[in-house]
Amino acid sequence: MANLEPSKQRRGLVAIDGAMALIVILLIVQIWLLSATLETYLAGHTGAVLPAAIFSGLIFSGCLALDFFVTRVDQESRRS
């Protein structure tokens, strides 16, 4: 059945799976970042709060970009 699938669709599926795996990794990093920031904030150290928020925003931007990528690849592979 897999051999009958067009190669473009198969490549699209691999790209989507890869993007999803990357989002999962980014999310794990972001969860760790949030817990570490909260821990340092509660310990009275506020120096790391701003860089952590910026970095978290960058990670979110990355996730958003990957989400758009997944949507685009999905639409393209469905069209073909």
Binding site: I31, L34, A43, A52, L64, D74
Partner: protein, 168 residues
């Protein structure tokens, strides 16, 4: 009658019921990716919330409370008191002739009451063997994630007055 039915093996009531639970439960890759992205947004909002809290947090006003008299406790002796509210238990230690330190008695791990071990010269939490330094309340060993909040003391004649809580 069978001529008008669909060829599926599902019972008639399932065939005619318009909600297909298996289809409803099916999550596409796009939906899952959207969910992960929303979770990422939640983490980002959490970081922004901490940032806002650290920027706009007001410094709490602590009362000035007399907690002990000078020479009331011997060197390496302790006195328990409450500060800033009657629910906040604290421990004061006379570490040298003219040196007093005070900390919150609540362990930063799971809130057990810490006590002073004169033998080891450290504050110890009996619940999970968490040890704190008498000098600055920092964690020496064990699961506590943060130092003990320190009570700032001021000397006024023969009285020791608690003026603030540091590191809360």
């Amino acid at each position: 009658m069978s001529l008008f039915r669909s060829p599926s093996k599902e019972p008639l009531w399932k065939d005619e019921f318009s909600v297909f639970t298996s289809d409803e439960r099916y999550v596409t890759r796009r939906q899952f990716t959207r969910f992960l992205t929303l979770a990422s947004l939640g983490m980002f909002v959490g970081n922004l919330w901490i940032l806002a809290k650290s920027r706009f947090a007001k410094t709490p006003a602590f009362p000035m409370v007399e907690v002990a008299e000078i020479n009331e406790i011997p060197v390496r002796g302790v006195k328990l008191f409450t500060y800033p509210t009657p629910q906040d238990h604290c421990i004061m230690i006379r570490t040298a002739e003219e040196e007093y330190v005070a900390y919150s008695q609540k362990c930063t791990h799971l809130s057990c009451a810490v006590y002073y071990s004169a033998q080891n010269d450290r504050l110890e939490c009996p619940c999970h063997r968490g040890f704190f330094s008498v000098k600055d309340g920092s964690v020496l060993q064990g699961p506590p994630p943060r130092p003990l909040p320190q009570i700032a003391l001021e000397r006024d004649g023969k009285k020791l007055i608690a003026i603030a809580v540091k590191g809360t």
